[in-house]
Amino acid sequence: MKPTDIGNPAYFHKVVDCQWACPAHTPVPEYIRLIAQGRYSDAYMINWESNVFPGVLGRTCDRPCEPACRRGRVEEENAEKPEPVAICRLKRVAADYKDDVSARMPKVPSKKNGKRIACVGAGPASLTVARDLAPLGYDITVFDGEKKAGGFIRSQIPKFRLPESVIDEECGYILDLGVNFVAGQHIDSLKDLLTQGFDAIFVGSGAPRGRDLDIPGRKEAAKNIHIGIDWLSSVSFGHIDKIGKRVIVLGGGNTAMDCCRSSRRLGGDDVKVVVRSGFDEMKASPWEKEDAMHEGIPILNFHVPKAFLHTDGKLSGMTFEVVKAEYDSKGRRSLVPSGQPDVTLECDDVLVAVGQENSFPWIERDVGLEFDKWGLPVVDQVTMQSTVKNVFFGGDAAFGPKNIIWAVAHGHEAAVSIDKFCQSEDVAVRPPPMVRMLSQKMGIHEWSYDNGVANDSRYKVPLKDINLALKNIKVEVELGFDPQLAWKEAQRCLNCDAQTVFADAKCIECDACVDICPMDCITFTLNGEEDELRKRLSAPATNKSQDLYVSGTLKTSRVMVKDEDMCLHCGLCAERCPTGAWDMQKYFMQTAKAGPACRPKNPTPARRAA
């Protein structure tokens, strides 16, 4: 293998599994350390910089970082139930215990740069664009059909998962940056908007249409059949405050989980979730399924809806066909009749949460904006630019329904593009991330990070008493970690950003690092092809998604090979190294945000002709 190019920022970024997996590339271990030190405000600001809604996301994020977290891997064969660090809920700790951070928010220049940007929709994608561009002097106008900003964060996510005050606070930080928020104004024509003199338009209108289920009885029993997301927003805005005693929720995604849990709080005693697929293939996150079941909601799988039953124009129940999964030779699944008799379930109300769609009735098809065959706009995956050069997309509107953190990530990239576009730069030329490497060595055996490795298993977030929680839909279920629990959970983080950096020339091949490494990561051996090398290391390197770090040829004509997969970042290799050939260096990386650094040609905004 060739020596590893550690100068490439992607190499060490990939080692920080959580940050690599986070769509907004939040510097996770950095904020976890700050939480352990009780520096909640600093931890909050690191998050705010990257993901814009730490308080919201600390309660609701889909947390792609957690399945990626190294802790889950290294606990294999070491703990009863290997589990990642509670990255998401630690984020909430930063938000809960921070001081007033309003003074730390960016200052908005009194003199604007003369460019006007319109954002359609006030969801997380648009708000991120506004947050990134307003401090640069852009004049931002955000339009939304609703009265308050937040998008689905406000209209869909039930208050028992996310209190309104958190939404108000975090949307407030952005609107306070001198953003013009035009509430209650639904944009009905892109053509019209294009004529209003905006330099660029960002479309963050989400995926607002819930799919319906067209089966017999749908029309007749319509009064008690509700589209999940419409029903949830009515609940959020207080238009609906009760539901029948027996409720069936159709669908296996997160919307279904919010529907069933909301129903339990609005009078539903007998609430069931019914899904077509198997339990394990459900789209909902495992923890959301757990939360629902914890509240006494059974999930029936392999039931395909056949008909709504009704008597005298009133819904009385539903029938389902029972299916089973069959896999073909290629492993593709199909649901086939199981041969069991159909199942009838009685109910008073049905919530249909079987998916969401984009819809753009307000975009005229003759403005030059191309749509693909699924009705989605043609948008560049990297620049977020549409086929109309000054119209950009992001969030659910761009590539279909995703989640908040993706909306934020899109927002950042769109902001970079809009900034470059407005300053006449090529949007396709993307700025490199901001990277710092800093040795953590303080003394012979002292590091400026806590390199001890805790053996604790994941701590559970304390919950509100279930009886109290089910009484009021506005009572938050999770109480959050207190500072003590947060500290303990933070100790589980392995500081994957404290990178093991190897200097070939200093190594005397004494084997000290090999001997001390608790995870058998390091091998000195003759070089070879990757596949073959992976088999003959101190411990087999079977996880190919994790890289091998290979040195140049050493004095004995061998190379040092380190399998990054299981490294604990404990620094023992560096402590045992007599020559300092190993060093622990903190890798701090933030993606480039809109601003002078991302436009090399025009670091200062173009001056307008007088």
């Binding site: 053996n455 005397i508 004494c510 001997d515 608790p518 058998d520 411990a539 402590e575």
Partner: protein, 351 residues
């Protein structure tokens, strides 16, 4: 050393041996030696060897003297018996322990100062007597613990850290051991576990006096240019006479070495030492030619390593003295203290 205890988390693929232990179970306390000390690598080699041999940790007794090297038994086999004697007196304590209980595996861990200076007398006699043990000298050419004075194994002309040349002739521990009757003699290098681990395994299985001289650089006081016990010097002058595989009766360990003539030495306990000769003329079962060979190469400035001599049919002290097989701790009062009548008879026989 490190300030941190080694985390107990281990690689998920770590395997258990037949005794039910992982390699990590053979570790000891966290080492307090200097980072990069060759002695720590030797400890790691012991851990590997004992794990590979499925040894029950509580069946091992580690005895040592004084020195950095003699401290190492604290850093491996944390669940075995251990005894730190006074400086240079490990051999007599080991002999005594072995006489009292021949069923344990005895490990004598010493340094070049401990064995070639203050303890050279005891060293000579433990070898002469053929005590069944693995005796290792972790040889760095200096008194590491007392800050790097030349030891008796330092080569003539070897330079100290401050540049002063050693004028005395060195004691060659391997030559001494051969001359004094050790029945398994090897030399190795702490930086070459491929060679060291099988050598240790062979020594542990050997039912007689096994001696290993392991060059083990002192990074603090003897790893500079001009030293003949540095990592660089040893790597440049290392002449391995053979590559050794240790094959237990139960499992075969295959290591790929370049082809060479293969000699198999069947051991008393049924295990086999397979030597792949790198020096075709070398005969490791002939004590006298081994002694000559080592001296010749030493004169050429080469450090000859590998299994240098083995007697496949060794005898040990217990055989020589015709002692009782049962360890003292399992004998009853009657056997241990046969009474005054017996004492009278013994005394009478000596008059």
């Amino acid at each position: 050393m490190t300030y941190l205890t080694k985390p107990t988390l281990h690689h998920p693929t770590l395997v258990k041996n037949k005794a039910g232990y992982t390699r990590r179970d053979y570790e000891g306390k966290v080492s307090t030696l200097c980072a990069g000390c060759g002695h720590d690598s030797i400890s790691a080699a012991f851990i590997q060897a004992c794990w590979e041999l499925d040894i029950q940790p509580h069946r091992v007794a580690k005895l040592s003297g004084i020195g950095c090297s003699s401290k190492t038994p604290d850093y491996f086999l944390g669940n075995s018996h251990g005894f730190n004697t006074v400086h240079g007196r490990m051999p007599s304590v080991l002999t005594g322990a072995n006489l009292a209980n021949r069923e344990l595996i005895y490990l004598g861990v010493s340094g070049d100062g401990d064995s070639a200076s203050i303890g050279i007398g005891q060293f000579a006699h433990v070898m002469r007597r053929g005590v069944n043990m693995t005796y290792i000298v972790e040889n760095n050419g200096v008194y590491g613990l007392t800050k790097g004075q030349f030891s008796a194994t330092a080569d003539q002309g070897s330079k100290s850290k401050k540049g002063v040349a050693n004028t005395d002739s060195p004691v060659d521990m391997v030559a001494l051991a051969l001359q004094l009757g050790a029945t398994y003699v090897g030399r190795s290098f702490s930086g070459d576990k491929r060679q060291l681990v099988p050598l240790i395994k062979g020594a542990l299985a050997h039912q007689g006096a096994a001696f290993l001289d392991v060059v083990s650089p002192c990074v603090a006081f003897n790893n500079h240019a001009g030293s003949t016990k540095s990592y660089d010097y040893v790597r440049e002058h290392n002449e391995a006479v053979s590559r050794i595989d240790f094959i237990t009766t139960r499992s075969e360990i295959t290591v790929d070495y370049p082809e060479g003539e293969v000699v198999e030495v069947a051991q008393h306990d049924g295990s086999t030492l397979r030597l792949r000769k790198l020096h075709p003329e070398y005969d490791p079962t002939n004590r006298i030619s081994a002694m000559n060979y080592i001296q010749e190469h030493h004169a050429k400035g080469e450090v000859v390593t590998g299994l240098l001599y083995v007697d496949p049919q060794p005898e040990d002290l217990h055989t020589h003295l015709n002692t009782a097989e049962m360890p003292f701790n399992r004998m009853g009062k009657k056997e241990l203290c046969p009474g005054s009548a017996m004492l009278e008879r013994i005394n009478a026989s000596l008059r």
